[in-house]
Symmetry: C2
Subunit: 333 residues, 2 copies
């Protein structure tokens, strides 16, 4: 029986995760049974939401178990197949474990086409990232042509796609990011109308008001915290907020406090709604189709930060919380 390098969760992080929360071990790769495939990981996705699964608080997906492998979106090559849906040499994407090689039963695995887009794209623009942007914006944001969309974490994997889809749909799009370089990229590479650097802006409320002269109709929120407070002062009547992420508070050890949103929501008949892409699985195929079309029409561009080496997966994950990625963070094995 062969073995594989595996990354387990060693401790539940207290606050910001550290390298010592992860454990490199060697685990066995079982013999292939009927219906199973043997996979070699090629690209591993690291995502902020994984932080949530490292805690044991109840959430939309169960927490990771201690001393068991972490799992995330992975693109893998089929090395051997006893499942009629997959052949040796196919590439697949799915929720898989942080292992170099592993056996899977084929459930939830999607065969992907290397000729249509690079393999890593299936973890990003044509995977959960693109679907999160597309379905969050359209299903909850319900944007109407001519409205103003503001995006926090705009230079991130999801944010940069949200902004581009906003432009395709005919919105004024403003992005918030943390460096001048990222703000420049929002405009030059992703076609945002305006960008705001929250690290160099003293009064975010005023800066948002200036960038959104007609107010904010749709807010795609990836960060929560103080930036979202500043947006609240600029929301329009009947505005919609998509609560997609709250990376600014994920590592807080105490419950974070913010300005109470209720009076703002009442004054503006405004809504906020939590969005998780896994709630919309029935809309994923149509979403991937739409995203592929836009991608092939050169209407969507995406950026990736590709880190090399299985051993660097934990560090790549940690780097997300320091904003070291531009666009989707992926580890190439």
């Amino acid at each position: 029986m062969s073995t594989t390098k595996t990354i387990n969760l060693k401790h539940r992080p207290a606050g910001k995760p550290e390298l010592t929360d992860f454990d490199f071990t060697t685990s066995e790769v079982s013999e292939l049974r009927e219906g199973e495939v043997l996979l070699r990981s090629k690209y591993v996705s690291v995502d902020p939401y994984l932080r949530g699964r490292m805690s044991d608080a109840p959430s939309y997906i169960p927490p990771f178990e201690l001393n068991k492998p972490i799992a995330s979106g992975i693109v893998a090559e089929v090395l051997e197949s006893k499942n009629s849906n997959f052949s040796k040499g196919d590439y697949v994407s799915g929720m898989l474990e942080w292992k170099e090689t592993q056996v899977a039963n084929g459930e939830g695995l999607l065969k992907i086409d290397q000729d249509k887009a690079p393999l890593s794209a299936y973890l990003g623009i044509l995977g959960m990232t693109g679907l999160t942007a597309y379905l969050g914006l359209t299903e909850i944001g319900k944007p109407k042509k001519g409205e103003t969309l503001i995006v926090s974490g705009a230079a991130g994997a999801v944010g940069s796609v949200v902004g581009q889809i906003g432009k395709i749909l005919g919105l004024r799009v403003v992005g918030i990011a943390g460096t001048d370089e990222k703000v420049e990229m929002l405009k030059s590479e992703f076609g945002f109308d305006e960008g705001i650097n929250y690290n160099t802006t003293e009064n975010m409320t005023e800066a948002i008001a200036k960038a959104c002269p007609d107010g904010v109709d749709v807010y795609f929120d990836n960060v929560g915290g103080e930036i979202s407070e500043a947006v609240l002062f600029n929301i329009n009547k009947f505005s919609r907020t998509i609560n997609c992420g709250a990376i600014s508070v994920y590592n807080d050890t105490e419950l974070p406090k913010s300005i109470s949103v209720q009076p703002f929501l009442i004054k503006k008949s405004s809504s906020m709604q939590g969005f998780v892409v896994f709630d919309y699985v029935d809309k994923h195929p149509a979403g991937i189709k739409q995203l592929s079309e836009w991608l092939n029409q050169d209407k969507l561009s995406y950026s990736e930060t590709i880190v090399e080496g299985f051993d660097n997966i934990p560090q790549a994950f940690l780097d997300l919380f320091d904003g070291k990625n531009k666009g989707k963070m992926v580890v190439k094995i």
Copy 2:
């Protein structure tokens, strides 16, 4: 030309309103012109939302002007009419000024039927109060039979109607109020399944969990603040919060802070939405019809606190913030 006693806004309240923020004056009653009616106020509604209009911050309706009369829902008798829609002796309800007598042009005035319900009911169960409860719960809460509804400010004018409609619609209904007497009334008079006294309960989060063993699907929020924080810990996947009022923070002079709601909304794919009955004017007639039906079928009971005397309007308004009312607070002239 005759004159009338009038109540003006003298100062914009800083924090909790005080009697000295109001000014009793005498103003002229103009001669009746074509299309106008002369009205004598019979019942005056005092409501928490009026506090918002006393500040000059932008909101869903414009602020009151200083040294001008305050306006609220009023039931009045037609003393004289030069408007073909109304005759002498009719009773009407509408947004009118805090005056003993006044001239109005008939716009927005609704003729009401004294035989169907007592006049004061048209300021409550068959007026904005009942419509707020009914349209907020159904349009935003979208409750499904068998779900659990929790109501804050449950013994108040809106809250007590929300709970009863919840029972009519087949929900488990839990109410939160501030005295044992009110909690008892929720159960005995309004048919709530459970009640919680927030003033004597040490751990509201646990108390809500106990009263809602299947979690909270719909939260009709009249108060905001700490009570709403405790509810957050008990919301179910896909739950909906109707943000109808935030009386607990209306008098705060600094922006109130609460636990950040975003991580909860994301974890539970949950929504919060501000509700203002004035946004749904097209649904008011059907709403009044439904409420009248339920009232005539004895499916709805309501309570009123009736204060007597025009001069006592400001004090009755102040008493709202000390929870001195049971149900709708109305001043009889």
